[in-house]
Structure formats: C-alpha cells, structure tokens
Symmetry: C2
Subunit: 310 residues, 2 copies
C-alpha cells in the first residue's frame, strides 16, 4: 500500500473519559468529582468533552446523575460539551441541560446492534430521525458514532462498504459528524488508512473522527495512520480508561495523554497543555483508587536529563 | 511533514529477549530454560535471535552462562544467531562459540557512552576495529547498535547529524548493519521517519535496523513510521520485556508479538507464526514468574467471534 503521507497541523481531541471511561468503572464517582474532572479537562485545553450519557440509570447506574453533572459544570467558552443519547427519551432529558452536541450511536453490524441496544440498525436510524428533529429547534448539533466499524465480536470483519453505506444513511438524516469506533480493538493501521481515505474520497462532506481501543496495543499506531492520511479528529480517554461492558474483549480506550504527547513531539498542535492534563490524570487515579494504562502518566512527557536533577 | 508512504513486503525481526530482555530481569533463568527460549523462538519462525551477551559476569551475572547457552542451542538453518560483545575480550570468548554475528554497541552521546561502558566514543570505536579484525578470519559478521540515537537521558536531544556521522565511522570500520536504539523511549514517529529517510539518502549502503522502547507508549507507532518509510529490520523482545539497567527511565522493549500481529494484519510478512510465538511467551511468563507488557499475549491475536464459541 502506497500513499502520500500528509498530516494536519492541528488535531482536535474529544476526551470521552467522563462518559465512555467512567461507565466501565466499578467505582462510581460522586457528582462533584465528575464535575471537577470535566472542568479540569477544559482547563487543560481539551476542546471537546463527552460529559455524560442520558441512558437509563437501570442500565448504567454510573450515569444516573447526568442532569446534575451537566448543569453543574462550568462552560468554558469555545469548548464543545457533548452528551451521549441512546434514544429520543434520553434526548429529551439531554436537551433540558443544553448540551452543545448530542451523540447517537449505532453498530456497523446487525448482531452487535441487537446485543447492544436490542434494536435493528434500521430501528436505530428511525430513532435518530426523531432525535435530529428534536435537536434542531434548540440549535444542538447531532453527531454519530459507528461502533464496531473495524470489526465486530459477533460477526468478525465488517466490510468497508457497509460502514460507508451506514455513514451515508446518517448523512441523509442530517448528521455530518461521524466517529468510527474500533470497539474491540481489532483495527490495523492499513485498514485505518484505507477507511480514512475512502471517506475523504466518497463522503467528503463528513467530518470524520476516529475512536480506538488499545486491546492489542495498536491504538496509537492506528491514530498515526489516520493522522498521516489527514484525519484530524479523535476520541480518546484520560488515562486510557474505558472499554465497553457490552462488547466482549474490548480493552481500554486510547489514552489522551499518550496521544497528545506523541503528536506534540511530532510538532502537531492540539491546544492541550500536557502537564495540566497529567495533573488531571493524577486526580482521576486518586478518585478511581486504581492505576490507569497511560504510559506517559507514568513516564512523564518530557525526558528530563538526569544531570539536570543534580 | 509530507512523504510517500511505501511499506516493504517483508519485515525481518531480531528477537532480543534472550539477551536484552533477560539481562533486565531479577530472576535468572537456568541455562536449559534459556536454550529452550532460543529454540522455541527459532521454531516459531523468528529469523534473527540475539542469544546472549559476552559481557563480564561481574557486570551481568544473568549472562554468566553465555558459552553454555551458545553451544547448547539447536542451530536452525537460515536463522542468524547473534551475540553481544562489549570489547575484544568478550569477542574472543564469543568467537569460540561460533556465532553468525557479533554485535557491538556505542552511544550517540559521549556522556551515555562514558556512563555505560566507561570509555569515550573514540575508544569504543578503537575496540570495534580490533573486534572486526578478530571476526574476519572466522567469517563472522559484525553489526553495531547505536544506543540513545533518538535522545539521551544525560544530554537530552541527540542531533540527527551526530548519529549519521557515527554511523559513517562505523561503516568505515567495515560495519554495514547498524541498529538505532531509542534506549529511553523518547523517539517520536516524525523523528523516526526523518531518521530512516536520512539514512536512505546519505548512507544507502547501511542495512538499517531500529530498536524501540515503549516507555511512553510510542514504540509501535514508531515502528509503523519506520515501516512506512521503507525500513524492514527491527529489534524487539518477546513479551515486551527488557529495559536497560544503565539507562535511567528506560521502559520495556517493543513486544515482538504486538509488532508481528500488527504487521501481519496489515498484510506484511514476517515469517513468524504468531500462535507459536504466543506459546513461547506463555513459557517465558512461567519461567519469569511475572506478567509481561505484550497486549496481544493477553488479548490473543485473532478476534474470535463470540458466536463461534457457542
């Protein structure tokens, strides 16, 4: 495979640790700590934050305080605060809290969609139609995540053409921001480059984001392949926490710190202050009561020459 | 930074776990287990193996049985069995065991070379001159590793020009196989691509290999950037074990399993059978008595659809 490597000058990160990360944790953070996490991410310069999920507390007790979190955070100007909504009922709750963006999700494979949300892909899309109609009068953007876009734990390989077709159907609903999720961590850099390039060629109107899991250690290499193909939007989680409770074999999310460190060293801007971000990781680790996978959190971002310590 | 991505069809791995890996461990494997490790790596298809180090047992008691290991392994035809030699005295011991290759090492920065081997770079090169002269009549290749090639824990950034100049001096001694070591794990993918491309342009006669440490999570992304620049030789360690005892802040080596998995998924051949390799990791973990960083060892190489298990 040969292509012209061309990286963007700026990469936008959406940190999903307050939602995708915390929902996979056994420890439930209290509302105040969730609010501090979101506020500290914004202060560190993270331009997009997935704050919470308006899923039923029956399914995810970790997110039962979605309203309180959304109405207690400080809204830093310029930051996009988004929330996950599984259905029109969740969207109704979400809209009352005035998010900048609501995110819906659908699987690239029928089996995973059934197991995940007990609906067909077609039924999911019908729900999105209603959510888009509800969001419009409030000026709230609707974005989508296509989960299992690079492979499904039930169906195996997902053809690129299915992902493009599903994205086109989302675009027809008025959704132009789409994230592709490698839910179980089976994407490889070549597949990622091909996917990004296919979207650029066939669906240039879509603002594409990528969301990788580090199940097999490939997440940062996948981000790099996407960046080298011109992709500039990624979803990552502080500390590398996360993993889907409904996707067998899913590992943690790509870590925001490790991604920001690597891109910054490459001379690509992210607007994020790494040291401030690492202080936020320290806060998160204290509240979770366990260590996190991020390597840069442990090693530190900058190599400090040993002699300089003397 | 823009360049034409062009990956090789075949990538050669040298597994350094029996030497670079085991020398960083507190547990000392017995000779029989070391021999089994080397033989199993060869059986799994690893084409190049760093078997041991002929360093003084005073410095590295882990390698005190270097002669016994070298003379006890089965020599699989086609596999290159190499040994590390720190000086002419080590080379003399090594030659008696008939390795295919002897590897010498020198730091890209004076301070690290002094701290590592208590010699100036110039003095190290003088020793290599003698080692090359000793190796020649026996038909043994001498290769070199330039350690701290991407950054030094004492001096910080190492200029690309210094690395090229040192490589040229090694080439003048008759050493044409050179590995660049990111000893403390500070390389970034852009720097790696620039380094590989500079070698291709300025020193095309050198067979370049790269050796990454995953201190900051960038090792596989660095390998990918090198592969995309046309590099086809890497040094990795089974399980991702290793890290230099004499380099403050060094993390483990890039894992052979994770690298082979990723490249195989990309359609790049390595000649290595992943499942056999993972059985060898299982053996290594049992002998070391602790877990290893490799992600593919934990997740498995192939995504097995859940339904297939029913």
């Amino acid at each position: 495979m040969a292509w012209q490597w061309k990286e963007p000058e700026f990469v936008w990160f959406r940190d999903v640790s307050p939602r995708d990360g915390l929902q996979a944790e056994h420890v439930i953070l209290n509302t105040e700590d969730k609010v501090r996490l979101v506020n500290q991410l914004a202060q560190a310069g993270v331009p997009r934050i997935e704050v919470t999920s308006f899923v039923s507390p029956k399914w995810l007790p970790q997110m039962a305080d979605a309203e309180q979190v959304m109405t207690s955070i400080e809204r830093k100007p310029g930051v996009v605060y988004s929330v996950l909504v599984p259905n029109p009922k969740g969207a109704e709750r979400a809209i009352a809290t005035k998010p900048d963006e609501m995110t819906v999700f659908v699987s690239a494979s029928e089996t995973h969609n059934q197991k995940n949300v007990h609906r067909s892909i077609h039924e999911s899309l019908e729900g999105f139609h209603d959510i888009c109609a509800m969001a419009k009068p409030h000026g709230i953007t609707v974005s989508a995540v296509i989960v299992t876009a690079f492979g499904c734990p039930y169906e195996g390989i997902v053809p690129l053409s299915s992902v493009l077709e599903l994205a086109e159907r989302l675009q027809d609903l008025g959704i132009s921001e789409i994230a592709l999720g490698d839910t179980v961590g089976v994407a490889n850099p070549k597949q990622v480059a091909q996917m990004v390039q296919a979207f650029q060629q066939k669906l240039p109107g879509i603002q594409l984001a990528l969301h990788f899991h580090d199940t097999r250690g490939t997440a940062l290499a996948n981000l790099l392949a996407a960046v080298g193909s011109g992709a500039s939007r990624f979803e990552t989680a502080l500390g590398g926490i996360g993993g889907s409770p409904f996707s067998p074999g899913a590992g943690g999310n790509l870590s925001t710190e490790d991604s920001v460190y690597c891109l910054t060293e490459m001379g690509i801007s992210t607007g994020i202050h790494l040291q401030q971000l690492l202080s936020t990781t320290q806060f998160l680790v204290e509240k979770l009561g366990h260590d996190v996978p991020s390597k840069v959190f442990h090693a530190g971002g900058k190599m400090i020459p040993v002699n300089a310590k003397n």
